[in-house]
C-alpha cells in the first residue's frame, strides 16, 4: 500500500498535467519546405528549413561563434532573391521579409509556464509528483531542443507574375547541408507540389503560369 500511494497519486495528477496537448511536428534533416502562394501580383513565400541544413547544428547556440553563425544565416535568409532566383522578366521586388530561428523548446517553455501556474493552486502534497513531472518535462525539452528550424516569410510584388516560369535555387549553393526542398505552389488555378533536389536545383513552373 505504501508503494502504491505515490503511483496512484501520479496517475491522478497526470490528467491535470497533460491538459496541454503534446505534439511534435516531423523533422527531417536535409529536407526543407518552401511554400509559394500567388495572388495577382503578390507572391508570398515561406521557407521552413531544419537548423542542420542552414547552420549545421541544432543545439542551443552557446559560443559567440554559434551566435554569429545564426545571425549570418538569418541575414542570408533575409535576402530571398539571392536564394531563389526568379526570372528577370517577372519584375519581382521584395516588399516584406522576416526570418527567425525557432526551436521546438520555445513551445515547451510556454506550456511549462502554464503548467506551473496550474500547480500553484495545488496542495503541497502534490509537490513530490510535481518534481517528478518537472524532470520529465526537462527530458522532453532536451530532446526537443535538439531540433531547431529556421522560418522565413517573404512577400514579393511581381509586375509580371505570368513570367514566373522558373525558379533557380541558389539556396543549395549557399547552404551546403541542404539536400532537398519540398515546394508547394498555390495559385488561383490550384495547387501543385514539387521536389527540388541539390542535383537539379531548378524548378520549372511553366505548366502553372
Amino acid at each position: 500500500m505504501k508503494t502504491c500511494a505515490p503511483l496512484l497519486l501520479a496517475m491522478l495528477a497526470t490528467p491535470a498535467i497533460s491538459e496541454g496537448t503534446r505534439e511534435l511536428g516531423s523533422h527531417e534533416h536535409g529536407v526543407g519546405e518552401l511554400n509559394i502562394a500567388v495572388d495577382g501580383t503578390t507572391v508570398a513565400m515561406e521557407l521552413h528549413a531544419p537548423g542542420a541544413d542552414i547552420v549545421g547544428f541544432e543545439y542551443e547556440a552557446e559560443t559567440a561563434e554559434d551566435h554569429a553563425e545564426i545571425d549570418a544565416a538569418i541575414a542570408t535568409l533575409s535576402e530571398p532573391l539571392t536564394l531563389f532566383g526568379l526570372p528577370a522578366g517577372a519584375g519581382c521586388g521584395v516588399t516584406e521579409v522576416s526570418a527567425e530561428l525557432e526551436s521546438e523548446a520555445d513551445h515547451d517553455d510556454h506550456e511549462e509556464h502554464e503548467k506551473h501556474n496550474d500547480h500553484d493552486h495545488d496542495d503541497h502534497d502534490d509537490h513530490g509528483d510535481e518534481h517528478a513531472h518537472d524532470d520529465d518535462e526537462h527530458h522532453d525539452e532536451e530532446v526537443a531542443a535538439n531540433h531547431t528550424e529556421f522560418h522565413a516569410e517573404y512577400t514579393l510584388t511581381c509586375s509580371e507574375p505570368g513570367a514566373l516560369s522558373q525558379i533557380t535555387f541558389a539556396y543549395f549553393d549557399v547552404f551546403e547541408n541542404a539536400l532537398e526542398l519540398e515546394v508547394q505552389v498555390v495559385t488561383d488555378a490550384g495547387a501543385a507540389a514539387f521536389e527540388v533536389e541539390r542535383d537539379a536545383p531548378t524548378l520549372d513552373l511553366s505548366d502553372i503560369f
Partner: protein, 416 residues
Amino acid sequence: MILRLAARSLIARALTVGMTVLAIALSVALFLGVEKVRSGAKTSFANTISGTDLIVGARSGSVQLLLYSVFRIGNATNNVTWESYLEFASLPQIDWIVPISLGDSHRQFRVMGTSTAFFEHYKYRQDRSLALEAGVVMDDLFDAVIGYDVAKTLNYSVGDPIVVAHGIASFREHDEQPFRVSGIIAKTGTPVDRTVIVSMEAIEAIHVDWRGGSKIPGQTTFIETIRQMDLTPSAVTAALVGVSSPLQTFAVQRAINEYPEEPLLAILPGVALQELWGIVGVAEKALLAVSVMVVVTAMIGMMATLFSSLNERRREMAILRAMGASPLTILGLLVLEAMLTAAAGAVLGLGLVYAGLFIAQPAIDGAYGLFLPIDPPALRELFVMLAVIAAGAIVSLIPALRAYRLSLADGMTVRT
C-alpha cells in the same frame, strides 16, 4: 534525283510497301493514342475536384483523406466535431466551407450528407459546376439527389423512393425514413456519379432511433416528430474549404493542422491528387512501355521486309550500278526508301489518331467521363514522329549495308 528514284521504287512495290506503311501507321497510332488517353486520364484525374483550396478531416494521411472525402474509397479514421467545424467556418480567411458526412449507403452506392452549398462550390474539370439532368436540388428533409451512374444502374427517375442502409455493407436499413429522389446529376466523370447526396440534417434524422450502431428495439419516431427535432449534426466526416485568397491557403492549412483542440488535417487537393497519381501512375508507365514495344515490332517488321526484298532487287541494284551509281548511292537509296516508308506511316498514324478522336471523343466522354481534347499536334507528337523516321533510317541501315557490300562485288555477274 535519288529522292525521285526512291519514291518511284516504292510506288513500284506499292503492295508490300503499303503493308509496311500500314503496320507502322497502326503502331504509331497506338502509341500516340495511348499518350492521348494517358494525359487525358491524368488531367481528368487531376480535375476530379477543383476550386476547393483545402480538404479538412481527421488527422491521418493526405492520400487517405482524399480517398474517402473525394473518391469515397475507404473510411474515415475519425470524425471532425461540429464545434471545430463551426470554429473554422467563422475564420475570416475562409471564404466558404462545405460539410461532408459519410457512412451510410444505398445498394452499392455511398450516401453523402452535405449542404446545398456543395452544388455551388464543388467544381470539376477546372471550373465546371454540377448540373442537374432532371429534377431539382434537395429542399425537403427527405430529398435525395443522385449521381448519373446511380440513376442509370438502379433505373431511378425523379420521384422514386429510396431507402438508405446503415453502414457501408449492411442489411440494416433506415426503412422508417424513406427518401425521395428529387434530382439526378448529369454525368461528370467524377465519383459524384456514384453518390447519393442528402442533406446533413437527413443524416441526423435517419439516425434518430439509432444508438451505437444498432436500432433501438420498438422505438420509432414519427417522421412528423423528426421534422420538428433539432437536427444539428454533432460531427462531420470532412469539409471542403475555400479560402478568400491563395495567399491565405498555407496560413489556414497550418492553423488547422496545429489546431490544439482536435487533431485535424488540412490538405491541398491538387497536391494530394498528385501524390495519389504517383501511386496509380505505374500502370500508365506500363501502358506506355507496351505501346513503345509495338512501335519497335513494326520497325523490325520493316527491316524484315527490306531484307527479303534485297534478293529480289539484286538485279535492280546491278542495273543501277551499271548505270554508274556508286555503292554508296545504293545504300542511300535504301535508307531513303525506309525513311519515306516510316514517314508515311507516321503521318498516316497521326491521321488515324485524329480520325479516331473525332469519332470516339463524345462517346468516351459520355461512357467514362474521360475527356480527350482535340489539339493540334504538340511538339511532343512531332518529336515522336521524327523519332519513328529516325528509327526507320537506323533500322534500314543493316539491310542497306548488306546491299552495299553485295553491290561492290556482286550483281555485275548474275549467277542464276
